[in-house]
């Protein structure tokens, strides 16, 4: 299943946030969204996932979601959004409870995603016992459990420290390599974007428009930390974003 965003415009009251957004999100690939703070990345992601109505334009699902997909558009949130009163396994089961699965199937799925995210030993732990990186792993496992057609990730690694971020990035890459998933990945961090994105859409400052879409052909598994090619792309992205970011920063100061 592909996603297509057509002629999207969004405003909060008089404040235009997104303007003329057209995007294609082909299946099996990761699209990164980068842009200065407040340019409407989270808003765009909420609209894509059907959590918010756009002022104008539409988001289309092209083709049917794959077999066995329980929740086509599934989020991973920046602040994890785990239910603190449920164990790791209970949190992962949450999305499955809405569907009438054959008996035992839910347990199988939970065991499978726990194994894929290396969380099997933590099935009965409560979120308060986990570190930030572990919590985000649980949230990723919960998203994988419903077998989404498209994963929508809103700065999933921003709340984590640099080392944990690197580890989780490697986890995401190996998850994708074993079983490619479609994803829209919002981030502030250009290094993350060039590591994970098959294409990178750069948004301008508010109202967000698409300035450029950079495609990267290098396979994810071959992109290593501090890769020279990737550094060049990152440099290019940064020159593009620098003035936007500076202007966005000044705008906030002026109210």
């Amino acid at each position: 299943m592909d996603l297509r965003v057509e002629g999207l415009r969004h405003a909060y009251d008089a404040l235009p946030v997104l303007e003329g957004i057209d995007l294609d999100i082909p299946s099996g690939r990761i699209l990164c969204l980068v842009g200065p703070s407040g340019c409407g990345k989270s808003t765009l992601l909420r609209i894509i996932g059907g959590l918010e109505r756009p002022t104008e334009g539409k988001v289309l699902q092209v083709g049917a979601p794959p077999e066995g997909c329980l929740n086509p558009l599934t989020y991973v949130f920046q602040d994890f959004a785990l239910l603190p009163w449920r164990t790791v396994a209970g949190n992962i089961r949450l999305g499955l409870e809405e569907h009438r699965l054959p008996p035992g199937r839910a347990d199988e799925i939970v065991a499978d995603v726990l194994a894929r995210t290396n969380l099997s030993d933590f099935a009965d732990a409560l979120p308060k016992q986990l570190s930030g990186g572990m919590k985000q792993r649980v949230a990723i496992a919960r998203a994988l459990a419903v077998n989404p057609a498209v994963m929508l990730l809103d700065e999933p690694l921003s709340a984590l420290d640099a080392q944990t971020r690197e580890l989780l990035m490697e986890d995401l890459i190996s998850l994708w390599t074993r079983q490619p998933f479609t994803a829209v990945y919002v981030t502030h961090n250009l290094a993350e974007a060039v590591r994970l994105g098959h294409s990178i859409a750069v948004l301008s400052r508010r109202p967000g428009r698409i300035r450029e879409i950079v495609t990267l052909d290098k396979p994810l598994a071959e992109r290593i930390h501090m890769d020279a090619d990737l550094e060049a792309v990152q440099e290019h992205l940064w020159t593009m974003m620098r003035e936007e970011a500076r202007a966005a920063d000044a705008e906030l100061l002026n109210g």
């Binding site: 996932g49 959004a81 999305g95």
Partner: protein
């Protein structure tokens, strides 16, 4: 530098973090009781000011052995249980509705604010006319008294449920009832339970008021009768029963919190 004077950095942290120390509470109780006992025995405190604690204990023992304690306790506990569960059940449901629906919120919040400060005891004659002089009016008084604080605590608790958790539920395609049952209710539980502490204390206070009217048996009736006869020993024996009741209720809620809220950081 080497010959300059070296001093340890003065400590400025610490404090502002009281912890409960075992036995101190009991020690305060015992000290006060011993003081009262000593005062009444030496005549430093006159018999009209305060009954002698040992006499109160004796009266309490009498109450126990004669079986009158349970004769008084049984109807009181029934009134408390029926009235409080009614008030709490309606209060929690109303609070959740206020927390979730704009129209109900706009309609009921001012009403609750208007009802809250009314001393419910003042409405006792009205309750007697509405619900009869028997148990009905007593249940109603206690229920009404627990209802308002429960509502306020509940909708405050629902307001405080993390909205990102609700968005998360929606993003997994959860239905409205599932979200309320699996996210809103457990998320509001800490606030609801701490509201319950206050509501149930109020229920015990109102129990005495409810038994002012036409109750033959009941802790409240017992206290009021002792008071009108100026029988301080019996009055205090009754008061002790109410205090114990309060301690028991608070302990029970503490246990529930321990079981239900173990997930809190």
């Amino acid at each position: 530098m080497a010959d300059q004077q070296a001093r340890p950095v003065p400590f400025r942290g610490g404090g502002f973090r009281p912890v409960s120390i075992r036995g101190v509470g009991l020690a305060v109780f015992v000290t006060l009781l011993l003081l009262a006992e000593w005062g009444t025995r030496t005549g430093w405190i006159s018999a009209l000011t305060l009954p002698r604690p040992s006499d109160v204990v004796a009266t309490f023992g009498e109450l126990w052995t004669s079986g009158m304690l349970f004769k008084h306790l049984a109807p009181s506990l029934t009134r408390l249980a029926v009235g409080a569960s009614l008030g709490v059940a309606v209060g929690v449901s109303t609070g959740i509705l206020i927390g979730l629906f704009s129209y109900i919120r706009s309609g009921l919040v001012p009403l609750v604010a208007a009802l809250f400060p009314i001393p419910k005891i003042a409405l006792l004659p009205l309750f007697v006319i509405w619900f009869g002089i028997d148990e009905g009016s007593k249940y109603a008084l206690i229920a009404f008294g627990t209802f308002t604080p429960t509502v306020v605590a509940t909708y405050g608790a629902v307001d405080n449920v993390d909205r990102t958790l609700i968005r998360m539920g929606q993003s997994f395609g959860m239905g409205w009832f599932s979200i309320v049952r699996k996210i809103v209710l457990p998320g509001a539980m800490p606030g609801i339970l701490s509201g319950l502490r206050i509501s149930l204390a109020i229920a015990i206070i109102l129990l005495v008021a409810a038994e002012m009217l036409g109750a033959e048996y009941g802790i409240g009736a017992y206290i009021l009768e002792a008071g009108s006869l100026y029988d301080l020993e019996r009055l205090f024996a009754g008061v002790v029963v109410l205090s114990l009741l309060g301690v028991v209720v608070s302990t029970v809620i503490g246990q529930i919190e321990k079981r239900l809220l173990g997930w809190r950081v």
